[in-house]
């Protein structure tokens, strides 16, 4: 029921039209006319083989990279514009990467503070949010530990918390389980899905792993730079 409700939702949070992207002065064409829309609360997988262009498409959708042609709108804002991009990153979108990309010399708590630092969120609110998220992912007892003292799974769980710190509306995840073993990867993916559903956050996740498809509302197969089919698992 929930899945159907989301799929039928009319509130589009991410919309891409006719995206093109090439590298090496146009010699390597990676994305060729991809269009898609993500609705509020939807978990969408960009699925494809390595080199299919799913990560590049995710970067274009999230405003991390600029398309050669086409347009992207996140919550109606154009992420290609610096001001809109800053607003989006501070308030509306979060990122999870294959590598945790946390700052190793900082503690878990300090890493979680980074998005709040950028958005200048009041301290009381920040503390409460850190406590809540760390408890949700089972890391409340590790807040003062440095990143280098955490396991791979703990680091990725911390990265998910960081992505959710500023109560985003969309999370972009690029192979979030790619650097983890099978079991830990499954735990992390499940945790990601649980948290975003709890917080009514949309997720666009680039992955090559079929096993996570069932946990998504929709799967978009990326092949040769095109979003070629949309499957509902």
């Amino acid at each position: 029921m929930e899945k159907e409700r989301i799929i039928n939702s009319s509130e589009v949070v991410v919309e891409a039209k006719d995206l093109w992207k090439s590298f090496d002065n146009g010699r390597i064409e990676v994305i060729r006319g991809a269009s898609l829309a993500v609705r509020r609360g939807e978990i969408v997988a960009l699925w494809g083989r390595s080199g299919s262009g799913k990560s590049t498409l995710l970067h274009l959708l999230s405003g991390l990279d600029v398309p050669d042609r086409g347009s992207v709108a996140i919550l109606g804002l154009d992420p290609m514009l610096e001001d809109a991009r800053i607003t989006l990153r501070r308030n509306h979108i979060g990122f999870v990467f294959q590598l945790h990309n946390l700052i190793p010399d900082l503690t878990l708590e300090e890493n979680l503070r980074i998005p709040a630092m950028a958005s200048r969120t009041p301290e009381l609110q920040v503390r409460a949010r850190i406590q809540y998220l760390a408890s949700e992912v089972g890391l409340a007892h590790r807040l003062t530990h440095r990143i280098q003292d955490l396991s791979g799974g703990e680091r990725q769980r911390t990265a998910i918390c960081r992505a959710l710190m500023n109560n985003p509306k969309v999370v972009f995840a690029d192979e979030p389980t790619g650097s983890l073993d099978e079991d830990t990867g499954a735990d992390v993916f499940e945790l990601l899905c649980r948290l975003v559903e709890q917080e009514h956050v949309s997720v666009v996740v680039a992955t090559h792993e079929r096993r996570f498809m069932e946990q998504c509302h929709r799967v978009i197969r990326v092949s040769h730079g095109r979003a070629i089919s949309q499957l509902v698992p």
């Binding site: 990309n101 946390l102 700052i103 900082l106 503070r113 998005p115 950028a118």
Partner: protein, 371 residues
């Protein structure tokens, strides 16, 4: 410590050796600048002190590059004394003498009753005898020490031999290292009969200054009268010394700044992915720039503090060394400290300009593409 400051310090702590080298660069630059400028200003201050005793105007020959080359006739001195606004005029002939082991000793030719003699502490000898005894010189305490001379002894000075008529301590290191002669004797010794180098003038009232200056300039003798402050600012030797000391100091700080630039550049290059993540988390370009400048600022701040500690200790050590006693009178003024601090921060932040620009221009996608 707030999060932003923590980010600044974490990065410096991560590359401790590199940060310490940068801090040392700034510290030695600040110390060098402080010592050079303070010593030079102290020296200038001492020289000014010689001229400014009980006087408010200095009269000397117009357009001379150095007071040693200035010639003021005794008839001009008499004319100055005759001016209605003038309370007293003290002529002084300045020259360089030598003794066997000391090729350069400053010699002051002074009249009896000159405030430099009158206000000095006479450690040995009788001040009332100054100018009354023939072929007699009077030594500053430092001069007596390095010439190994005592009251009543004779010492060779230049081609002559003179008796020591007294040993005096003044408020001034330069004077303490000098030889004092009665004015007529000095004029004869330096073959400058009826000529002095400079006259220091005390007016009856401060308000008489403009009229006095006009009167001096109207005289046909090519003299100029400058208030002590005007003289300090316009005397070319002081200006050259001043500029040289600042130039040398700034150069040493620039070297430190290059160290900061190198550190910041390495720091930015080595954590480009981290900067990309900060951007992804919502840091604006301005916040990234502030982060890099923050690091440079901390390096400059710690470096400056260490530099002042080193510099002030160095000056204290120099002051305590017998070889420098009297000659080094460090003048650590608040405006100098402020100027050095400004230069240190400007240099460090200047060094961080390119790294900051590079960091701000980092595109997260490029930095994260090949993870």
């Amino acid at each position: 410590m707030n999060g932003f400051a923590r980010l600044v310090f974490v990065n410096l702590r991560r590359h401790k050796i590199r940060a310490v080298i940068s801090i040392a660069g700034i510290a030695f630059g600040v110390a060098a600048m402080l010592m050079i400028v303070s010593i030079v200003l102290g020296a200038i201050g001492m020289f000014q002190g010689i001229l400014a005793k009980e006087s408010n105007y200095v009269v000397f020959e117009r357009n001379v590059s150095d007071l040693f080359f200035s010639s003021v006739g005794m008839d001009q001195i008499q004319a100055l004394r005759a001016l209605p606004d003038v309370e007293r005029v003290d002529p002084m002939l300045v020259g360089i003498v030598s003794s066997p082991d000391h090729p350069i000793i400053t010699c002051f030719g002074l009249e009896t009753g000159d405030p430099r003699i009158r206000r000095a502490s006479w450690l040995k000898g009788d001040p009332t005898h100054f100018g009354a005894m023939r072929n007699t010189v009077y030594l500053g305490t430092r001069a007596a020490e390095f010439l190994k001379a005592d009251l009543g002894q004779t010492i060779p000075i230049g081609k002559g031999t003179f008796a020591v008529g007294g040993i005096i301590r003044t408020e001034n290191g330069f004077e303490d290292g000098g030889v004092f002669m009665p004015l007529p004797m000095a004029q004869t010794y330096f073959h400058r009969e009826n000529i002095v180098s400079v006259a220091t003038v005390k007016l009856r009232h401060d308000t008489d200054g403009p009229a006095f200056k006009k009167a001096v300039e109207a005289s046909s003798g090519g003299l100029v009268a400058l208030q002590n402050e005007e003289f300090n600012q316009s005397y070319s030797q002081f200006r050259i010394l001043h500029l040289t000391s600042w130039a040398v100091g700034i150069c040493s700080l620039l070297l430190g700044g290059m160290g900061v630039a190198n550190t910041m550049l390495m720091s930015v290059f080595s954590r480009i992915r981290e900067i990309a993540i900060l951007r992804v988390c919502g840091f604006s370009k301005a916040q990234i720039v502030a982060l890099v400048f923050g690091e440079a600022g901390v390096v400059a701040g710690i470096g400056a503090a260490a530099g002042f500690a080193i510099g002030i200790s160095g000056l204290a050590i120099m002051n305590s060394l017998p070889q420098f006693q009297g000659y080094v009178r460090a003048d650590v003024r608040a405006d100098i400290v402020a100027a050095i601090l400004f230069t240190a921060f400007a240099t460090a932040l200047g060094g961080a300009l390119y790294p900051a620009w590079f960091a701000a221009a980092t595109q997260p996608a490029d930095a994260l593409r090949f993870e």
